[in-house]
């Protein structure tokens, strides 16, 4: 049982006419492409090309 003192006054609004009862039924927006991705890509390499060194070339 929840005692009156445990009750959050904000919950008063959870059960009344302000509640959005259809929220779960609506289609959720997809994640925009520009939200930062904090998960670093795996196995990403810098794209410098290493080539054989010939001292005479330099």
């Amino acid at each position: 049982m929840t005692s009156p003192t445990d009750r959050n006054p904000e919950d008063e609004y959870a059960d009344d006419e302000y509640a959005d009862h259809d929220a779960e039924d609506r289609e959720q927006p997809s994640t925009p492409a520009d939200i930062p991705d904090d998960e670093p890509e795996a196995d990403v390499l810098e794209q410098r090309q290493e080539v054989p060194y010939r001292q005479d070339d330099w």
């Binding site: 492409a33 520009d34 939200i35 930062p36 991705d37 904090d38 998960e39 670093p40 890509e41 795996a42 196995d43 990403v44 390499l45 810098e46 794209q47 410098r48 090309q49 290493e50 080539v51 054989p52 060194y53 010939r54 001292q55 005479d56 070339d57 330099w58």
Partner: protein
């Protein structure tokens, strides 16, 4: 501890150098920030590419481009340069791409294209004219560098777009010196995501990996040699090709570009001579020693760590050269100065300030300008406060136990 973190196995690694070289590469990653030390790259093996002396005249872009894509190539390609670098102290060469952003030869590229280089050449893709280039400055953290083509004028610049207005789905072309072949190749694709965070490492796994934020992701096929080249849309250059992951049967290749607005903002700081914690103007100071990294204070333990990373290989006694022209043949000295704390010198570069002062492998640096050096990282931190042209007082103990204090005049070293 010696650092080797951040270099997980990679299907695209090509280099296979000897164990010693490999260990030294990783070891030096952190210490390189000051330019005190030298990056070591795995020499590539089994790759049959022409040397820089055999670079052919610039060629045309790839076929199979739509009219719109070809129009992008036509606008951007005249402002591109093919970059070749010599990494003398590593006995290695490398290739990348650059974008001319000023008619007098200011070129934007990645820091990792020029880092460790002792010489830089840039060939204008549209004319075949080759210039020697010098480093104006670089941002190691942001992987952005600005170089100056010597005695250049009247060059065509790349058309600059606005990376802030780019959206996922934008059609793009990635251009660059693919595989270091000396020609500009164009690869079409789309922007697939924005504001990405990546951790990129060098192919061959030598230096520390870098984490870059705010990257433009594309499915255009960015390959080695493309670094520093443009990712362009119909509006002009929107990014600088920087990193990529190879695709396979299940997954397409993914490329990443630094937004051009970000790159140009850093380039403006560099061109204005505004150094910061991340931006180095010009070249870093150079002492000319090979050493490790980490906070281990005992020189003997530092040597042990090196040997462990090199499969126990040691340079033997008495036969080690007094100095080295590159990392080739470099080995952990068996005779080490009898001190309990300092930064172990594995070897010195011939003709460098350290070698000229008589320092050799096995010496231990114990103080700089009277400030105690307690580890390789400690030495790096102290030296990072100086610049080429400065004179510093260095105290070291030789393998035979002789303590010496000498003035070393710092010279310009390879960018790191």
């Amino acid at each position: 501890m010696l650092e080797n973190a951040g270099y997980g196995p990679s299907s695209r690694r090509r280099g296979s150098g000897n164990m010693f070289t490999h260990a030294i590469m990783a070891v030096l990653g952190a210490a390189l920030a000051t330019g005190l030390l030298l990056v070591f790259y795995n020499p590539s093996s089994g790759i049959s590419l022409p040397g820089s002396g055999a670079v052919p005249a610039p060629g045309s872009a790839s076929g199979s481009l739509t009219g719109g894509e070809q129009a992008i190539v036509s606008k951007v390609k005249p402002g591109l340069v093919i970059i070749n670098t010599a990494l003398q102290y590593n006995s290695e060469a490398a290739a990348g791409t650059g974008m001319v952003i000023n008619a007098n030869g200011l070129v934007l590229t990645n820091n990792h294209v020029i880092n460790g280089s002792t010489k830089i050449r840039a060939t204008v893709a549209s004319t075949g004219t080759t210039y020697t280039a010098t480093v104006v400055g670089y941002d190691k953290t942001g992987d952005i560098a600005l170089i100056q083509l010597q005695n250049a004028s009247g060059l065509t610049t790349v058309p600059i777009g606005n990376s802030s207005s780019v959206k996922a789905g934008t059609a793009v072309v990635a251009l660059g010196n693919a595989e270091g072949r000396g020609t500009i190749t164009a690869k079409p694709g789309q922007v697939t995501a924005l504001n990405q965070t990546i951790t990129a490492s060098e192919d061959g796994g030598s230096t520390a990996s870098e984490t870059l934020h705010g990257m433009i992701q594309t499915n255009a096929d960015i390959v080695p040699g493309d670094s520093g080249g443009p990712l362009a849309s119909s509006a002009g250059v929107i990014g600088m090709d920087t990193a990529g992951s190879e695709g396979n049967n299940q997954q397409a290749s993914t490329g990443f570009a630094i937004p051009v607005n970000t790159a140009l903002s850093v380039a403006r700081q560099i061109a204005g001579g505004h150094a910061s914690a991340t931006i180095t103007i010009g070249y870093p100071p150079f002492v000319g020693i090979f050493t490790g990294s980490g906070t281990e204070s005992s020189p003997q333990a530092q040597a042990q760590q090196e040997q462990q990373q090199n499969g126990g290989f040691s340079g033997g006694s008495g036969n080690a050269p007094r100095c080295y022209t590159s990392n080739s043949g470099l080995s952990v000295p068996s005779a080490i100065a009898p001190v309990s704390s300092g930064a172990l010198v594995i070897g010195t570069i011939c003709g460098s300030p350290a070698a000229s002062a008589g320092m050799t492998g096995g010496a231990v640096i114990t103080a700089v300008n009277g400030q105690a050096v307690r580890s390789p990282d400690g030495l790096t931190g102290i030296l990072s406060r100086f610049h080429p042209g400065d004179t510093i007082s260095v105290t070291w103990v030789s393998p035979s136990g002789q303590r010496t204090t000498s003035s070393l005049h710092l010279v310009a070293g390879p960018p790191q």
